[in-house]
């Protein structure tokens, strides 16, 4: 049995009776057993997965109505709630939090007969881009286990890349889906803000983050979007997509499309191999009939500063509830004492979360908000204006997903500012609410490089069509696991 197939291939194979869901899931669980000790993608495993697959096979045999996933094995980032399942956010604070409800995306995938093989690793509360800030230890890059897999949805990218599932859901606040996708050579897609319900996604910076799929192919990403997008009464920020079919016409090509090359994302600080991959991708797109031209978004140079200011502010508020009173330590009422409580209140939070909570207490505070938070909001609105102007001229924008190659575990952990700067190419899509996708493009010296495409709001279909076209020009070696 070949488990190295795409999600769509899987559904076709099961549907046609060539393989059973049970066999595939069993094989997938075996793969997890075999590789996850060294990769550490998973924080918890669904030990009922094989049983659930058997049920689906039974339904298929009896000719009952079956969902579009046919028992497809999916991994879920551990900041998305699955009912009666631990949802830890890779934090000690939520070590024992068992979600009493399903996130909307989970409800939708359950209705389509997906099987959740397990919950996967992330930087604590999705704050980071290497999974090194997971309270349960980092995940490893399947291309080279000395290297980080990217983050924060590192576990998602690793599990897809190492065939521990066929697709995964991550969340993207500043690149957290696209960055690990780029580092692990998978597709990583952040849809337009509001396209996918965030209900059940544990908030980090709620005004800019989105759930997004990590998949083997662009088609799979479109397939996943078909299943989970749309209005949700439980999330007031969702938008109506009129049940758009993102798979339909995905092979339309990009002939005649205008693509802007974001100048600020191919300049200073970029790794030469990343630059040459980007140039190569641009010429491929031109070969497919697109016209590419540089465009300047000069607000991009302030975007990382604005991003960290805004996300810290929102994180400071979103995470305020983890105050040890309702989550965290077990307290016996006997001997409970207020001062000892206050002293311990945030002790279960790790260093990166603590850093951002402190920052989040400072930048929007009365004496400093004008200098920091309000200014960051100004950058956000100016950047949005600039990118909207760019989309008057261009259909799409292009850049490398990450300016550098994956780095070694431990290499940058003591240098938060240099870590922050790696987000430079991804945060713009979050700050402006635009859809963006990372397409695996090339393996350079054994390490993956991804290319990012950005489209205008609600132009997700066009984005996926372009990504599909670019993907078709690429031949990638198999992951060495």
């Amino acid at each position: 049995m070949n488990i190295k197939i795409s999600a769509l291939q899987f559904t076709r194979e099961v549907k046609s009776g060539n393989i059973s869901a049970e066999d595939f899931i069993a094989k997938t669980m075996e793969q997890i057993q075999n590789v996850d000790d060294s990769l550490h993608a998973f924080l918890s495993i669904n030990d009922k997965a094989v049983d659930q697959a058997r049920e689906i096979d039974k339904k298929i045999k009896l000719g009952e109505k079956i969902g579009q996933c046919f028992g497809m094995p999916i991994s879920i980032k551990d900041n998305i709630c699955i009912k009666d399942t631990k949802t830890t956010c890779a934090s000690k604070m939520l070590e024992n939090f068992i979600a009493p409800y399903d996130a909307t995306v989970i409800t939708k995938l359950k209705q389509q007969d997906a099987i959740f093989v397990g919950k996967v690793n992330l930087d604590e509360f999705a704050m980071g881009l290497s999974t090194e800030f997971s309270a349960y230890g980092p995940s490893k890059n399947p291309w080279n286990t000395d290297y980080v897999p990217g983050g924060s949805s590192g576990g998602s990218a690793v599990s897809v890349s190492a065939f521990e599932c066929v697709a995964s859901l991550g969340s993207d606040t500043g690149g957290s889906v696209r960055n690990p996708a780029s580092f692990c050579s998978t597709v990583g897609y952040k849809p337009t803000y509001g396209l996918i319900s965030r209900y059940g996604l544990i908030s980090y910076a709620n005004s800019i983050e989105q759930i997004g799929p990590l998949t083997r192919t662009v088609e799979d990403a479109a397939f996943m979007l078909n299943l989970i997008a749309g209005l949700d009464p439980n999330d007031n920020t969702t938008v109506d997509n009129n049940n758009e079919d993102y798979l339909k016409d995905i092979n339309s090509g990009i002939e005649g499309k205008k693509i802007g090359i974001i100048k600020e994302m191919i300049g200073e600080g970029i790794d030469p191999s990343v630059l040459s991959a980007t140039k190569d991708a641009i010429s491929k797109l031109e070969g497919l009939g697109a016209t590419c031209e540089e465009v300047s978004l000069d607000m991009v140079k302030y975007s990382v500063a604005a991003y960290y200011t805004i996300t810290a502010t929102e994180a400071g508020s979103n995470l305020a509830r983890y105050d040890n009173l309702r989550y965290g330590y077990d307290f016996s009422v006997e001997g409970y004492e207020f001062n000892s409580y206050i002293e311990k209140a945030r002790k279960k939070l790790g260093p990166e979360v603590t850093r951002r909570m402190i920052l989040g207490g400072f930048v929007p505070s009365a004496g400093h908000t004008g200098k920091y938070f309000l200014k960051a909001l100004k950058v956000k609105s100016k950047l949005t204006r600039q990118i909207n102007d760019a989309f008057k001229k261009f259909d799409l924008l292009i850049s490398p997903t990450v300016p550098i190659l994956p780095f070694k575990i431990g290499e940058k952990i003591n240098d938060p500012v240099s870590l922050f700067l790696i987000d430079i190419n991804t945060v713009t899509a979050n700050l402006t609410g635009k859809p963006a996708i990372s397409i695996p493009y090339v393996i350079s010296n054994g390490l993956p490089i991804g290319i990012q495409l950005i489209a205008n709001s609600m132009n997700d279909k066009l984005l996926l069509q372009a990504a599909y076209a670019l993907e078709k020009t690429v031949q990638l070696p198999e992951v060495p696991i």
Binding site: S207, E314, A320, P364
Partner: protein, 467 residues
């Protein structure tokens, strides 16, 4: 000059559900922590789901208080730590970055005096802390989140009040107004709360919090004015501070915590998009708004010739005016108004009595018709009303059961009149010389018939007998 301003919190008790989830807005009947869900206790991953009805009702309040209503409203987060606040932030509204709360500047008249409203905002109520234990050592704080997320409207006034009496009158008018709008039942425990700020000439502003009832508010304001005047007369400066009302000692006490120093780190609530409240919606809401108290009052006076005092009392109370609307006809309106204001209001003067009352509008119609047709006297009507409130029986049943029918039999009445004349020679003599005093004798007859004698017939017969 003394200046007093108010900050009133009124729950929208008439709403079905909480502000951001489908738990009940009426949390009072639940066991602790049973009227809760992932949203109102702020479980990780839950998001607020705005109750549109709450926005509409709050906008109605803004319109009823003549406030400006912005085209678009927004919600903000007020970040602070407190155990009764599930998320450690409260979703509320804010006008410092432009008017985005449900209501801006408005006015409410208190008699001839105009009180300016600063703003009206919609927000979520926190949970409740319950302290148990007899001493410092075994003190336990319990948290009940049933109330968390209840829709709350904050109404802030300018410091336009000069004395506690004006404050009380304003609160009476405001609570009548909210009840009349059908948005809130102010008589429910905790449904309406208020803080006050007080300053006297030459002194700083002092805020008073933790005032349990409107009755105590008046007392607290009175105490605070006296305290400040006393300091001032001794040349002791009045410092700007927050003081708490000590319910037991009935005094204000300086707060240990410096609440004025709290930094709430307000910022826009990204989980709730801006809400457009265009003219179309405003017009619709206006058309759905119940008739205002002042317009009711005018209608009662001009259409039914009800005396001003009676119209005033009747219109300002929603329960009684609703009853009046359902019971009256053009012919009996004055009588129904009269029965309600002179007899019924005294009979069911508390919330509990109103709720257990079996009286229905048709009863009032029966009573007024029977009075007008002379079937029963006013005194009998009052007795009947008492029975109706208790039992809900029809008037006819009660008349026969209690023998309340008028004594209008001439022979029977004459016997009683003769008896009275015998017993009251002095009064009879007086009545002969001064016909106006004959009413005393009518009263005596009434007494002997337990109020059932037909008053007109009694008078006629008495006059004949005496002359």
């Amino acid at each position: 000059m003394t200046k007093i301003g108010l900050e009133i919190h009124s729950q929208l008790t008439k709403l079905e559900s909480k502000l951001f989830c489908s738990c009940k807005a009426n949390y009072r009947e639940f066991e602790p922590n049973t009227n809760i869900c992932p949203i109102c206790i702020g479980l990780p991953g839950s998001l607020p789901r705005l109750n549109q009805k709450a926005v509409e009702k709050a906008t109605m309040i803004a319109m009823a208080l003549n406030c400006s209503t912005p085209e678009k409203i927004a919600f903000f987060r007020k970040n602070y730590f407190y155990p009764d606040l599930p998320k450690n932030f409260q979703i509320t509204q804010l006008n410092i970055y432009g008017d985005t709360s449900v209501g801006g500047i408005g006015t409410l008249m208190v008699g001839e005096k105009k009180i300016r409203i600063t703003r009206i905002q919609l927000e979520e109520d926190p949970g409740r802390l319950i302290y148990e234990g007899s001493s410092e050592k075994n003190l336990v704080t319990l948290v009940d989140y049933n109330r968390a997320g209840t829709p709350l409207v904050e109404i802030v006034t300018e410091p336009d009040f000069e004395n506690p009496r004006e404050v009380r009158e304003f609160l009476n008018i405001l609570s009548d107004l909210l009840e009349n709008l059908g948005v809130s039942d102010p008589s429910l425990e905790g449904a309406m709360r208020a803080d006050a700020n007080v300053s006297i000439e030459g002194g700083n502003k002092v805020e008073i919090k933790n005032i349990g009832s409107f009755h105590d508010l008046e007392k607290a304001v009175h105490f605070e004015i006296t305290r400040q005047q006393s300091l001032h007369s001794r040349n002791i400066p009045i410092i700007q501070e927050t003081r708490h009302w000590d319910d037991k000692r009935k005094i204000t006490v300086s707060s240990r915590s410096k609440e004025e120093d709290l930094d709430y780190r307000y910022f826009l609530e990204g989980d709730i998009p801006w809400i457009k409240i265009g003219n179309e919606i405003k017009e619709k809401l206006k058309s759905e708004m119940p008739e205002s108290i002042s317009s009711k009052k005018q209608r009662y006076i001009s259409k039914y010739d009800i005396p001003v005092q009676v119209a005033d009392v009747l219109s300002s109370n929603k329960f009684y005016s609703d009853l009046f609307e359902d019971a009256h006809t053009k012919e009996n309106a004055k009588e129904v108004a009269n029965i309600i204001t002179t007899d019924l209001m005294g009979l069911i003067d508390t919330r509990e009595k109103r709720e257990s009352s079996k009286l229905k509008p048709f009863h009032l119609k029966e009573i007024s018709d029977s009075i007008q047709s002379g079937r029963i006297t006013r005194t009998s009507a009052k007795n009947a009303l008492y029975e109706i409130v208790k039992t809900g029986k029809t008037l006819s049943d009660i008349i026969s059961e209690l023998d309340l029918g008028n004594v209008s039999d001439e022979y029977e009445l004459l016997k009683i009149i003769e008896l009275v004349i015998l017993e009251e020679p002095q009064a009879v003599k007086q009545a002969k010389s001064n016909p106006q005093t004959i009413n005393y004798l009518v009263g005596k007859v009434m007494q002997k018939t337990k109020g059932k004698a037909d008053p007109k017939l009694t008078l006629d017969l008495l006059k004949k007998k005496i002359q």
